[in-house]
Amino acid sequence: MNDFILSCDSTIDLTLEHVRARGLEFISYHFFLDGVMYKDDLGQTIPHDQFYEKLKKGADAKTSQINIEEYLEYFTPYLEQGKDILHVSLSSGLSGSYNHAVTAAKELSEKYPDRKIYIVDSLGASSGVGLIMDTLADLRDEGKNIDELYGWVEENKLRMNYWFFSTDLSFYVKGGRITKTEGMLGGLLGICPLMNVNSQGKLVPREKVRTKKRVIRELVARMEEYADGGLDYSGKCYVVHSACYEDAREIADLIEARFPKINGRVLINSIGTTIGSHSGPGTAAVFFWGKKRED
């Protein structure tokens, strides 16, 4: 047994099986679908395809940040068991939860002075943070202790690259988590903005690309440009989608063909209900280790 836990939240967009298999713990966000509150429990309560069907039919989805009390309740049992905590949270550029986790951790440090509680601002989202957690689990299994893991993740979190596009920006615009929208909509022309997560953990549209076919090509081109070793990339790569599996499949196939040394198959996950409330359907993203995000 480890004397610490690797913890994240439900926005890591991995399957429950994956999270369990890697021995990760997580705290749930909550979201509201047409005013009814649900727990984001990695698709157990509401399967993702049903969720996106509802969004397509005009259901109103809102998310709420995890508050201090929820963190207190989540962290306390582990501390009671004598375990230290390394918690990696959704980007502070997208959610206030990180600050609440920090506040909760501060309060708990006073109550449990012998325990270590590290809160990490991932400055990222979705399966990108999932890939960070997966890598942390590898390092843990290699025998690294919590201090080493904390140091490692702070050192490396900006090396996680997040590139994505959407065929419909309307949810992003409504959710307000995007740095600029002017001229990005281009629905008449079928513009799919190519976006990434910047070094402050915010979503930034980088290029307006016409047609999905071309934006998928651009996405893979960005991976070639930014991934460790370029076409020789030998790390893992995760792809996610919101109700557009075909696009994700196409991206994964392209990547597997283009990057022959990649570690295993490209893992495809569905974007969960918290991130999905802000992306809506039609988003596909790719996550890989590479150059440090600087702007």
Partner: protein
């Protein structure tokens, strides 16, 4: 008492939502506060032991707290609960004390207390001695004081004044007090708006980003290094006063917390890094935050906020104009083939744009010179003309535009994008004509590729066939069909072209509603 507060919030949450402009104008304050209070389920009705009841309900609120205002409200009640601890009931003195503790607890938890918010209303409403009243008299006084403070919030917080609203959280708290008072004397809430003179909804357009003197809001939390003296802190304060405003600098032995608006966030951070380890920092561009808000509403051009770029595109036809607008054009000068606008038309559009740099897309070879002329005449303004000579070129250039780039880089990218597009215009000849290259009879279909009259055919199909053979391996064909062309007909044309060009080519059909040309086609 608490039930009354819940009812009051329920009735007024929409009103409160509509005033939510600070700190983030997301219009959810009322809902958040209501949901926070509504979570209190235990012991509604008779309260056996005040201290225990307050403790339980405060915990329930803490758990349910949503949003900043909800968290603050729950902390207020947690503070009250602390004061009530061990007491079975409260008299006026204890209630006053509980309010004060509540207000302090709420304030303590906010990294950056800002005056003119719910925090001010909480503090001011109980900042006088009224303990000689009975409980309902006391709450009445608190409510009145809260309301008086609430009315002053626009004077304390400029963002509220500009939106002509009072603070939404403060309003919510005032409603809570009103509800508590009524709950106590068993006077159920009726829906009414006694603060009716307050404008009901925020107008986000009231904020002119032009008068945002400092663009970046920086927040930072530093763990103070040993040996950092008070003198060093006061030096920092002087420095911040020189380069910014809205400064909230708090410090103790362990930490230094800063909130400041400035144009030099990085310099500030590097100064702070000298005082200790930076635990948390945030830099936000308040201009772009604001633009994201205003872009949600429709506005007349003269009210547009100051920004880096303004784009003027020449267009005619409602559909084409929509396309330009959607791609971010700020002003449209009406014009095109055989209706060329004047330099004066451009100057008028320019005058209405308050921005650092203007880029003009003339979109017609006969309009380029006029646009250049206007650029020269626009004294004191930075005006660039991207020499687009067709509508498809203008659209491609605009797609390549990126408001984050510098002017020269933008001009380069836009010009490059234009060179990758082939523009085709198809119409019917209004007269016969002979040239070296081509003979045209009146009423024939003619096709113009970029600037050259290239096809003259008896049928549209023949013209499309020649065109398809010439444009070769393009990936995206966009067909803008003109005024008087039915959608079905345009779809038929798209189908024909698609058959001729093969499956590798995406074809998009858009109602351009342009005059003169039946079809404007871009191939890229």
């Amino acid at each position: 008492m608490l039930c009354g507060a819940v009812a009051a919030l329920q009735n007024r949450k929409e009103e409160i939502n509509s005033m939510n402009v600070f700190p983030v104008p997301d219009g959810d304050t009322g809902t958040n506060m209501f949901m926070t209070l509504d979570a209190v389920h235990s012991g509604r009705g008779a309260v056996p032991h005040l201290g225990q009841y307050a403790e339980t309900s405060a915990r329930e609120m803490m758990r349910a707290a949503r949003g900043n205002s909800g968290v603050i409200l729950s902390l207020f009640f947690r503070g009250m609960a602390k004061a009530f601890a061990g007491h079975e009931s409260a008299d006026a003195a204890l209630l006053t004390e509980a309010f004060r503790v509540g207000a302090e607890e709420a304030r303590k938890a906010v990294l950056k207390p800002v005056e003119g918010t719910i925090l001010t209303v909480m503090r001011e409403c109980c900042s006088f001695d009224a303990s000689d009243n009975d409980l309902s008299g006391l709450l009445d006084k608190f409510h009145k004081a809260a309301y008086e403070t609430l009315k002053k919030t626009p004077e304390m917080l400029p963002v509220l004044k500009r939106a002509r609203v009072v603070d939404s959280g403060g309003l919510g708290f005032t409603a809570v007090l009103d509800g508590m008072k009524r709950g106590l004397v068993d006077d159920p809430i009726a829906i009414k708006h006694e603060e009716a003179e307050i404008r009901p909804a925020a107008d986000f357009h009231e904020f002119e980003t032009g008068d945002i003197k400092y663009a970046y809001c920086t927040e930072c939390l530093v763990s103070r290094k040993p040996g950092v003296t008070d003198l060093m802190i006061s030096d920092l304060r002087d420095y911040l006063n020189r380069i910014g405003d809205s400064i909230v600098l708090t410090e103790d032995d362990e930490i230094i917390k800063l909130h400041v608006h400035s144009n030099e966030p990085l310099k500030i951070l590097s100064k702070l890094a000298g005082l200790g380890e930076i635990q948390f920092s945030k830099i936000e561009n308040m201009r772009t935050q604001h633009q994201n808000l205003t872009s949600a509403g429709s506005k007349t051009e003269s009210e547009k906020p100051e920004k880096k770029y303004g784009i003027i595109a020449v267009s005619s036809g409602a559909g084409l104009t929509d396309v330009f607008r959607e791609l971010g054009a700020d002003a449209i000068v009406t014009g095109g083939q055989s209706m060329n606008p004047s330099a004066e038309d451009f100057l008028k559009a320019l005058k209405n744009l308050s921005c650092e740099h203007v880029i003009i897309l003339p979109n017609n070879s006969n309009i380029v010179l006029t646009a250049l002329q206007a650029a020269k005449l626009a004294e004191g303004r930075s005006v660039e003309v991207v020499k687009s000579v067709t509508i498809p070129q203008g659209i491609s250039a605009l797609i390549a535009f990126d408001s984050d780039l510098e002017v020269a880089e933008n001009i380069r990218k836009m010009t490059e994008a234009m060179s990758n597009v082939t523009s085709i215009a198809i119409t019917r000849a209004v007269r016969s004509m002979d040239s070296d290259k081509i003979t045209v009879r009146k009423n024939q279909i003619i096709g113009i590729v970029d600037k050259d009259l290239k096809y003259a055919t008896d049928s549209l199909e023949d013209c499309l066939r020649q065109l398809a053979a010439d444009i070769g391996d393009k990936e995206i064909i966009t067909i803008y069909y003109g005024k008087g062309i039915e959608e079905d007909e345009a779809k038929r044309v798209a189908g024909l072209l698609s058959g001729m060009l093969g499956p590798g080519c995406d074809i998009v059909t858009i109602p351009g509603e342009q005059p003169v040309y039946m079809y404007i086609i871009s191939a890229e």
